[in-house]
Symmetry: C2
Subunit: 560 residues, 2 copies
């Protein structure tokens, strides 16, 4: 049974304003955090605010008049935006280098126009028109890519337009019996949750980009949320998908499982806009939990912590959220946090013989209190000797779970280089991978007067392995901030090669494309190219993403 959705309750269609990476009012560092950073990293710079948009050099729109006329005929002239601010607002994503670009270092990739179709059919026609007029198309959801996935690259075409999916914002239908919901691709995650909540349902997908990212973007990038242990990765939720390609609409998904050849949904999920524009997704949904609870634990040393998370994952005892910080990240969390009492906590742990505290946050959910507590019991039983901190650290993590991007803005304002990267591998290789990446980042970023902090956590655990998520903090190199990070990223990627995946949930984009051949082989890249050739013969879709040139030679990488 499919319930009709009352569209009268939906908000007006809107075109989201762009975001320039300015942190806004809630992005400030407490004074003790600034002092701590100075002591630990050698930070001396003070106050490097965002340049106003007007300070950025932006070329005039180069969209040829015939293409603009055709696009206007499809979506309406008011939905083809060529103003400077509209184009700047979709100039790339939210990587550190993107943010630097908006602070005057490097050049933002600014599209020639932003096209905002209002429905699936219009997306299809826009894609076909762009192919015909030799215009590159960059699909754009929330613009939260941290790997250059929405960089407005021309790829040798006459012009490049950003295809903003903001107006595809409807919940199309809900099937509560099969627990399926059909959404247009441009729905942002909080709106999806709001629409589902009216049916007592949840998607359960909460990545750090939650506040701005879209369902189509999650699918295009194989996103994974903080509650992946409870709800799975986004790819596990996608039951069906519609893709607008230059050769027509491709629709997939008729059954929860099938043996009718390869599962082609897994080609579309993760296709990063290079094969087509995802316009609609059919998603598995679940009843919204009535109860939840988050608690903190401490384990002594990362090896013991990882072993504990492995025990949980292999014993079916993971919480809905399960997140282990290494000693360095635990230290940073304590130092930068407001509201905790780090000194008292350290004393408490010392008294219990903990030498290298590793914070483990676990969250449980349940339809009933008993169900939630039963899950909590399973976790606590499996954890054994972990020190229990109760709900304080759990609730603190939860309160700040989406604050990372804003906190990063504040750190940028303070003069820091701050970026994250992530990988994953099988349990037996996890320690080696962590050591290799840490070593590469520390080696690359250490300089006279600059001591990098490299923190790490596990936030996605599987029976066979886990992810590793690294956060890097180091005073920004005033001379060459771009080169400083490019060299570090390159060192980290080289360290990952052969030991794990180049990305567990950030996608390939521009930044990881050179490392893809190492992971999927020359034949894998060749297969991707064959698929792209077939679906996008003129190569207008998201140029430079997913499939790219060979890896750069050692040394500083050219700006993209």
């Amino acid at each position: 049974m499919t319930l009709p959705v009352d569209h009268s309750v939906l908000p007006d269609r809107r075109v989201r304003a762009g975001w320039t990476g300015s942190g806004g009012a809630d992005a400030t560092l407490p004074a003790h955090a600034n002092r701590w950073l100075s002591a630990k990293t050698g930070l001396t710079a003070r106050g490097t605010p965002v340049a106003p948009d007007s300070a950025l050099a932006v070329a005039e729109s180069g969209l040829p008049a015939p293409a603009r006329a055709v696009l206007s005929a499809i979506v309406g002239a008011e939905h083809v935006l060529v103003e400077r601010e509209d184009r700047l607002g979709r100039a790339g994503g939210l990587s550190y280098l993107d943010l630097l670009g908006r602070r005057g270092a490097g050049r933002p990739t600014v599209p020639d126009a932003v096209v905002c179709p209002g429905n699936r059919a219009e997306v299809q026609r826009v894609v076909e028109a762009c192919a015909e007029h030799d215009v590159a198309v960059v699909p754009f959801g929330g613009g939260t890519s941290v790997v250059g996935g929405v960089a407005a690259l021309r790829g040798g075409k006459a012009a490049v337009v950003v295809l903003d999916l903001a107006r595809l914002d409807r919940l199309v239908s809900v099937d509560p019996v099969s627990r399926l919901a059909v959404f247009e691709a441009g729905v942002v995650a909080p709106e999806a949750e709001r629409l589902l909540a009216a049916h007592g349902l949840t998607l359960g997908h909460f990545p750090q980009s939650y506040e701005r990212a879209t369902l189509g973007g999650f699918a295009a990038t194989r996103s994974s949320g903080q509650a992946s242990a409870g709800y799975g990765r986004f790819e596990d939720m996608v039951e069906g998908v519609r893709l607008a390609t230059p050769r027509g609409e491709w629709r997939l998904g008729v059954s929860p499982a099938s043996a009718a050849g390869p599962d082609l949904r897994h080609l579309v999920v993760g296709s990063e806009g290079a094969f087509g524009v995802i316009t609609e997704v059919t998603l598995r949904v679940r009843p919204a939990p009535a109860w939840d609870r988050y608690e903190g634990f401490v384990l002594d040393g990362f090896a013991a912590g990882a072993a504990a998370v492995r025990t949980l994952a292999q014993g079916g005892a993971l919480g809905t959220v399960t997140r282990l910080s290494d000693p360095r990240e635990t230290e940073v969390a304590l130092a930068l946090a407001d509201g905790w009492r780090p000194a008292a906590l350290r004393a408490y742990l010392r008294a219990r013989g903990v030498v290298e505290p590793c914070l483990l946050v676990v969250g449980w959910e349940g339809a009933t209190r008993a169900e939630m507590l039963s899950r909590r019991r399973a976790t606590r039983r499996a954890l054994g000797p972990a020190v229990r901190l109760g709900v304080g650290p759990g609730n603190a993590w939860r309160a700040g779970r989406f604050a990372g991007p804003r906190q990063r803005d504040a750190l940028l304002d303070a003069g820091m280089c701050v970026e994250t990267l992530e990988t994953a591998t099988y349990w037996a290789g996890l320690d080696r991978l962590r050591a290799a990446v840490r070593g590469a980042l520390l080696g690359s970023l250490t300089a006279p007067g600059r001591k990098p902090i490299v923190a790490c956590h596990i936030s996605h655990a599987y029976e066979t392995g886990a992810s590793l998520y690294f956060t890097v903090l180091v005073p920004r190199d005033a001379e060459d901030p771009v080169g400083q990070w490019q060299a570090a990223k390159q060192a980290a990627c080289a360290a990952i090669a052969g030991l794990g995946t180049i990305t567990h949930h950030h996608a390939t984009g521009v930044d990881h494309a050179p490392y893809l051949p190492e992971e999927i082989g020359a034949l894998g890249v060749d297969v991707l190219a064959a698929i792209k050739d077939r679906l996008d013969p003129r190569g207008v879709l998201n140029p430079g993403k997913l499939i790219a040139a060979p890896p750069p030679a050692p040394g500083p990488r050219p700006a993209r």
Copy 2:
């Protein structure tokens, strides 16, 4: 950590003998079953034994001498088999039409030779040599395909060889920390379990083809086993894979999860030999359970039964095995069973007001008795009003869980047409799909003096939907037994189109290839063709499977 495997305990490498579809000693029907079939279906024929191999017309091997010389140089002349019996032993799979072919109706597809490489490198060289010499290659594991997946079709090539993977029979390594095992592709399932048992591990994959099927075959066909509720589908177990293609080896899998573009493992899993030959699989394994228990329940009517299974699937309360028979299958099970007391059971159920008994078998496993019983408790709680039959029917199902193929042989001997087919869809559409397929089969197979039995069960349940597995029993048409089944199969496939997947776990092969465009779209077929062109530019790999001609016009289909 990877433990070295002691290969001295492995059995001698062996080349499995072929199987001609003769049931053997354990395939007889009890007298009461014969009587029941006569009464219910109009069966009158008696005794139609298998023809001896010598009665079959088999052409001489047409393998050109240069190709034979090259293949002999690679694998050794003793591993290039051209004798009549060796070739007949790999002439197709185990579909009803395959079995009819060995009983003199229709023509078996007999390869020109059987090539038995001894390791990955030899498979690679065989594939490259066949591409060079324009020889079609049919990868062959256990030969249990029921969809023509191993039919030795030439596809316009000079000759066709079966590439028998029987000698790739090693457990390569075990990683107990990550719970991974690397196997060569030709290991048969019981041998895999035996090798893993030495490490206290299990794969947990038990399809009905278990006794003969291979791990590589499971991967190539997206197999799903009877314990899928507990262990997942085979595709969920494949962490890594090596594929021998005419363009070199393709190796995939570095991490439990990744966002590095599309998940290409899902292209290889389900590729049915059309993109390459799977030579090695890295599989997720689990500790072998110490405890298990199987019980029977009865629900009143299929709708109530399906709703109960849905409740279990959506509430996380499925057993490791969960299998619901519809009223007709329940009746057949009672009629054909030995050892049960059907009359007493019927009276017992009548006394409890059950009008349309549907048998539900649930099996639970656990590392401890308490764990197993806790799972059992969850199921029983969720089942509510189901009538409990205890361990009798559970153990009876378990004892016969792999007996289907042998029972089928006995029914064929008795003069019956007996075949199965399966599909899957979302819960909201399950009733409609079941009615459509039942109606199509009954309509096609009913004839003067012949009353078909169409039984159905759910054996794979997901949060969003379930599979439907149909078993057909009808007296064989003596004049045109092939046409009788082809018409019924065509009617069933037409009924499935638009309502569910053309196959939930039997794969595409030759039989379902014409219906694939309906399911994955013309663009999907085009993408598969593009991938095949790139990996197998000369088209020597398993011709006619997966990618095929458009669907046949209505009416009898030509023999393949």
